[in-house]
Amino acid sequence: MNVQRSNLIFAWILLLPAVLYVALIVAYPLVDTFILSFTDASLKKVTNWVGWVNYAKIFNQTFAEVIIRTFVWTFFSVSIKMIIGVFGATMLNAAVPGRALFRVLTMPPWIVPMAIGIFMWGWMYNGQFGMISGMLQRVGLASGPVAFLAEGSTAFWATIITDVWIGVPMVTLYMLAAMQAIPQDLYEAAWTDGAGRFYRFRRITLPLIIPSLITMSMLSLIATFNSFDIIWILTRGGPSGETTTMIIDTYRTAIGSNKYGEGAARAVLICIFLSIFCVCYFRLTSRLASGDKR
């Protein structure tokens, strides 16, 4: 199997630069983090091996809440992103004049530096001087200023909305691409059979973009789970910790309080959760793939 060996060597030659690069730049710090998670590293000059202490420390009442909150937050954010993304893609997929322009107009949230986008949302949410509160008062839906970040529940949703906003362009774009990859004749066949626009959407478009949707959800899930800037800039995890997700907690511990060991343990935990997700995802897709050969 001479041929196969040469293929194998070539495959690795091609991979090597990227693999080495990532290994050096990311994997090394990653391993470092992993090791760190078993130490009491902090600003102190000496670090000691502490074993599982950092992990043991994490598990308490508050952290359980943080985990649950992170899952809920991620769940809603990803689902809403997908829903709005599919909605947007559907609209932009319609053959109406101006759609090229509309497609471009969906991109800004993706292009703008994240912090700036978040500041703009900060303005929107501002009770006294912000647009939403102002508009609500103008049309009489609110009697006084509505500060969206003041309460846990509204702040929770406000941060989700902003996260959705930042993620939507990418999802929309990919969903649009997935929709355009559906052969036109399927729609024509359905139309000849009398299926209306909505029915076609429900029975053809939707099922056929599901594979792309799942891939996108997974990529989005990783990003969302690690979504830091939005919460940090808008609420710093408050009020009363009600928007504190795992990544915020990790940052606060590692960077804020300089407890690098404990922070690393949290980071490793995040990675474990996400890995579980990914494994489930691969299981799911391979099941889907075997059930539905195209």
């Binding site: 600003l43 102190k44 009770g127 408050g238 009020p239 009363s240 960077i255």
Partner: protein
């Protein structure tokens, strides 16, 4: 040899006055240069810490004095002992913001105190005497109530966002009630009647405060005040400069006092220059730090106005200055009664507990006594 002193300088650009004096110092110390590295306020502190933690400290960094203890405990900075003369040149209490274990760990470079601002027009509308600011918490709460009820505009601006200044604002209340969080010996004194009273007062004034306190930090509250949409706030001198540009009628007075007050009180917040260990130029950096914060350069720097800085040292210029801008008086006068920021080993941890406590009370999630008890226990771990 050409040696460099690297300096993490917070802000958007180097102040021209500092620039001038850097030149001057470099002129006097041949072979030495100072390399300021401008870092935005938001990230300034973290950057200095990261560099130190990674083992490549800068020579000198502009840091909040509250972090000095943490740095010192971890052996990241060197002490900067002051001579008695030096100590004496400062307003009282300032040196203590950089002192623990009887050693000074940084050179103060910026300083702020707070006073009470009130909106005279709103006082009038509410049927209050526009020239008579509240002297006590009770008055403050009553006035706020009156304003809220008569005008529909909130009477007080209470910042309670998850931000460092939420804790600072609360500390002002603690200090105006003769309370303390941690004593000189490092014992936690948070669970005391004085502090509880402060927290209770927070609870009492909340109904008459800007709605959604947890959404605002102090600069935002200040903006609301500038917009005439709140009766009273406690703020630094910077607010006065901005108020001058508005049509508002306003006054500024010392902070109202709590029931246990033994006189005036305020929180003294200073920023310092910390000299990091291991840069190899510690000595020269210390020298420079003392130079740039010495009476001459510092006086010129802090009296530019607008930045909200309070002078560190008494001087003829300061007196002159206060005469010209009378609203400075409460800020300067307050210094004498001020207390330092509590110094903790895990300062952020402490701060988070305090913010948590304030927020839980302001949002009505917890009773003051319970919240305080919980916070007092939590912060034990951070000292």
């Amino acid at each position: 040899a050409n040696q460099e002193i690297s300096w993490i300088y917070c802000g958007d650009k180097i102040d021209p006055i500092h620039e001038k004096y850097i030149k001057e110092w470099e002129g006097k110390n041949a072979g030495w240069s100072v390399k300021p590295e401008v870092v935005g306020w938001e990230q300034c502190q973290d950057k200095a810490t990261t560099l130190a933690a990674a083992g490549t400290p800068v020579a000198m960094a502009y840091v909040g004095s509250r972090t000095l203890k943490e740095f010192a405990e971890n052996d990241l900075i060197v002490p900067v002992p002051m001579s008695d003369d030096e100590k004496k040149s400062y307003y009282p209490g300032i040196v203590s913001t950089v002192t623990f274990d009887d050693t000074q760990w940084g050179v103060p470079i910026a300083f702020s105190t707070k006073a009470l601002y009130w909106n005279k027009a709103l006082f009038k509308q509410a049927g209050l005497d526009p020239e008579k600011p509240p002297q006590t918490w009770a008055e403050e709460i009553a006035f706020a109530k009156a304003i809220k009820e008569k005008t529909g505009i909130p009477g007080y601006g209470l910042p309670a966002k998850t931000f460092d200044n939420t804790m600072h604002q609360f500390m002002h209340w603690v200090y105006t009630n003769n309370g303390t969080i941690i004593d000189d010996k490092g014992n936690i004194k948070a669970d005391s009647p004085e502090v509880l009273a402060a927290l209770q007062a927070y609870k009492d004034i909340t109904p008459y405060s800007v709605e959604g306190a947890t959404a605002y930090e102090q600069n935002e509250i200040r903006a609301i005040f500038l917009d005439g949409k709140v009766g009273m706030i406690q703020a630094g001198s910077g607010a006065a400069y901005r108020l001058k540009d508005t049509k508002l009628e306003w006054g500024v007075a010392p902070l109202p006092l709590g029931p246990s007050a033994k006189g005036q009180g305020t929180l003294l917040i200073t920023d310092s220059l910390a000299i990091f260990k291991g840069s190899g130029v510690e000595e020269k950096a210390t020298e420079f730090a003392k130079f740039i914060t010495s009476a001459g350069p510092q006086g010129e720097y802090e009296l530019q106005g607008g930045a909200g800085l309070t002078p560190l040292r008494p001087s003829a210029q300061v007196d002159e200055f206060v005469k010209k801008e009378p609203f400075w008086k409460p800020f300067i006068d307050g210094i004498a009664y001020g207390g330092p920021e509590p110094l903790f080993k895990d300062y952020k941890g402490f701060q988070n507990s305090m913010i948590e406590m304030v927020q839980s009370v302001v949002t009505g999630k917890a009773e003051p006594a319970d919240a305080l008890k919980k916070a007092a226990t939590d912060i034990e771990a951070f000292k």
